[in-house]
Amino acid sequence: MWEYPTWDVPRLGGGMAIGLIATIHVLVAHFSVGAGIILAVGETVARKKSDETILNFLRIFSKWLLLIGFVFGAVSGVAIWFSISLASTRATSMLIHTFVWFWAIEWVFFLVEIVSGYAYYASWGRISPRQHTALAWIYAVAAWMSLFIISGILSFMLSPGDWIQTRDVWDGFLNPTFLSTVALRTLSSLGIASLAAMAIVNLYPKFSREERTRVINFNATFLWPLVLMLPFAYWYFQGIPPFAKGLIQGGAAAMTLFFLFGIAASTLVGLYAYFGLIRRKRYINLETSLLLLSIAIIATVSMEFVREGVRKPYVIYNLLYSNGLTKEEVPRANNEGVLANAPWKRIGFDENTADPEALGEKMYEIQCSSCHVVNGFNDVVLLIDGWSDDLLWYNLERLHELKPFMPPLVGTDKERKALAAYLMELQRERYGNETKKEVALDGSHPQS
């Protein structure tokens, strides 16, 4: 069950560390995919019309792609690997043993993407226009294909579909939210890359105002598809498990707000692109384009946050909880005990001589620390501020029923009581004995 040692990140917690790295990577990766489509379509059209302005711009754009996408994108992609294997080891192991060939396929596209991207950037004016345009298309297709493949694995984690029963890798890959994830991510990629392009062109004084406007209006072609965010999000929504749906529909206010914000912001930006930039051929300056880009980034991050958030309490839905326990193992963990199944936590620790608080701390590290960091993110001590012993115990016994985004508390009687003792001790240490508003089981405030 808990066969691996743990990697401790002070204050943030491993889960948040993954989230941060993943968020940055997703943005850069989206940029790289969207930029490919802009380069390919852009060069094809510009060559046909001999549009030197657009070509000049694309040349500059390809340098940004190299410096952001290939350097930061590649390293942060590896960083996701490293961080998930540190913080969600068991999930990583399950994913790799299921999907290694899909990752290998993605890797082929990544290889082609990197090589064609460098070649594209280096060969402006050195190879024939037709060859150069072909390179852009090779890059665009390879980059989009890597998005396509990775979407299958990511969406699997939220909606593994029939795989849970059949264990057939195709059931897992072609899962209920696979295609809608591809669609949503393609939209975001186009949005982020085209807005970045609008900001970039504004950084180069050598383009005149008219030239900038042309480049911006051209890029708006890739921005208006954002108006499709609502139907695509609806499509996605249909595929996710019922409980996760419930969280979005109001079960967790934060999820609902983020989801709505993501859709609304994207739609508005898309509408502006169509009516303002395409129909009326408006110009936008550096500040405005950065502002729009920030909105698109926040919208994308919100949607990613929802995707990660509604998966709680699972990492792989209906299979593996975020704290590394599988659903099937719950009875065993209750019978045999938690510590008995966590060899690394037994190093230098003797259950028989330790006091309950110390045992409770172990329980906490094993079962809760993937989502709650003491003195840090989602601090549990804050959440139980003022709770009485009884109230805490009542909650712990029904953790997964009262708050179904948490896994059930498992362990022997002794272990679970020890956890309660530990939490009460934390609470006393933090707030002293003069707890202000003690809340008892029936909700009354006996000592106030």
Partner: protein, 374 residues
């Protein structure tokens, strides 16, 4: 050892031999690129002091242009072994990663900084800038070369941790640096062996770059690389003995016998190393000989492959008491494998087309030092 996690119950999605083969091949290619990154970054430091000489300046600019591309390829090909080692030895690999967790993730931070520093250096090292702010450029060179050398240490420390579950508990509960440096009697020779080996193979890249179209004093350029390789290779032999001495005695005995697979693997690496050294020596005399260049490079690549296979075998033998690959339950996913192989071949065709288009394109008149540069 109750600290060793059990193998993932999902089993392997392919036969062991296929996973091993792909692991070893991608690892070899990863090393070939990495060797230029590591060896080349030190070589650039040396060249940096000679940039008043025209041919050194030209070689400097060209090496600096190749460096980021080689680094990108090293990263890309590093993903291969990263995937396959997780499948084959996940329970050991993950544990080692977690034990040195901060370092393991920190490795990538250093990597991305060094990557950007290369671009800063490029921006500061245009031919016109060659006499400007020497302190800054020297610092950049050192920072880049030391970063890659340190990353190599982290990788070696990780590999050693994977091999030695005996020290996990001590490393996990010990100090931060302890996670890296426990088993140092084994780590240090292995590390030096890797670094010096990288410099040896890295020198071959310089032989090629020195022979590129339009080289000034091509033979001086190429020779400087060949000499670097040769010197490193000699040092490598001494280090090889040290490394052997650090291995368990009965293991070393079995290396010397041909009735063990490990012995055969060992013998074949030595068998490739000998002609390689002879060819290198010849290259220092006739550094522009085309056929010799191909042969030496072929032997060099083969040598790296032999070393990779040997290390892999060594891992199998050292972990034998805890786990063998034969224990895996295998449930082969033929469909995805075939798709992968088909796409891989198709990808290679596309890459070949790109290489051809570039080769022709850059053959046109124009400044060849502009290749792959910004």
């Amino acid at each position: 050892m109750d600290l060793i996690p059990s193998p993932d119950s999902l089993g392997l999605p392919a036969p062991v031999w296929l996973l091993l083969l792909l692991h070893d091949v991608t690892q070899t290619i990863h090393f070939l690129f990495m060797n230029f990154v590591l060896g080349g970054s030190w070589f650039l430091l040396w060249l940096h002091f000679g940039r008043k000489v025209d041919w050194k300046e030209q070689l400097y600019q060209r090496c600096l242009s190749v460096l980021p591309v080689a680094l990108s390829m090293a990263i890309t090909f590093g993903i291969g072994p990263l995937l396959f080692v997780q499948v084959l030895y996940g329970q050991f690999f993950y544990t080692a990663n977690i034990i040195m967790g901060h370092f393991w993730l920190g490795l990538l931070l250093i990597l991305v900084i060094a990557f950007y520093l290369i671009y800063v250096l490029k921006a500061k090292s245009g031919s016109d800038d060659r006499f400007s702010s020497p302190i800054l450029r020297l610092t950049l060179h050192l920072a880049i070369a030391l970063s890659f050398t340190f990353i190599a240490l982290l990788h070696t420390a990780n590999a050693v941790l994977v091999l030695t579950p005996e020290i996990w508990e001590e490393a996990y509960t010990g100090s931060l640096w302890g996670t890296l440096l426990s088993r140092s009697e084994f780590l240090i020779p292995r590390y030096l062996h890797n670094v010096v080996g990288a410099i040896g193979i890295g020198g071959l890249w310089i032989v090629w770059i020195g022979n590129y179209r339009g080289s000034l004093n091509a033979s001086d350029q190429a020779r400087s690389g060949a000499v670097m390789s040769l010197v490193a290779t000699f040092i490598q032999m001494i280090l090889g003995f040290w490394y052997l001495a650090a291995l368990p005695t009965d293991l070393v005995k079995s290396l010397m016998r041909f009735d063990s697979t490990l012995g055969w693997h060992f013998a074949s690496s030595i068998l490739v190393a000998m002609p390689f050294t002879v060819c290198l020596f010849a290259l220092t005399v006739i550094p522009c000989h085309r056929l010799l260049r191909w042969i030496t490079s072929g032997l060099g690549a083969l040598l790296v492959f032999a070393m990779v296979v040997f290390s892999e075998k060594l891992r199998e033998v050292l972990l034998e008491n805890y786990f063998t690959l034969a224990e895996w339950k295998v449930d082969t996913q033929w469909g995805p494998i075939l798709i992968f192989l088909g796409l891989f071949v198709f990808g290679l065709v596309v890459l070949a087309w790109i290489a051809w288009a570039l080769w022709k394109g850059f053959g046109q008149p124009g400044d060849p030092s502009e290749e792959i540069s910004s």
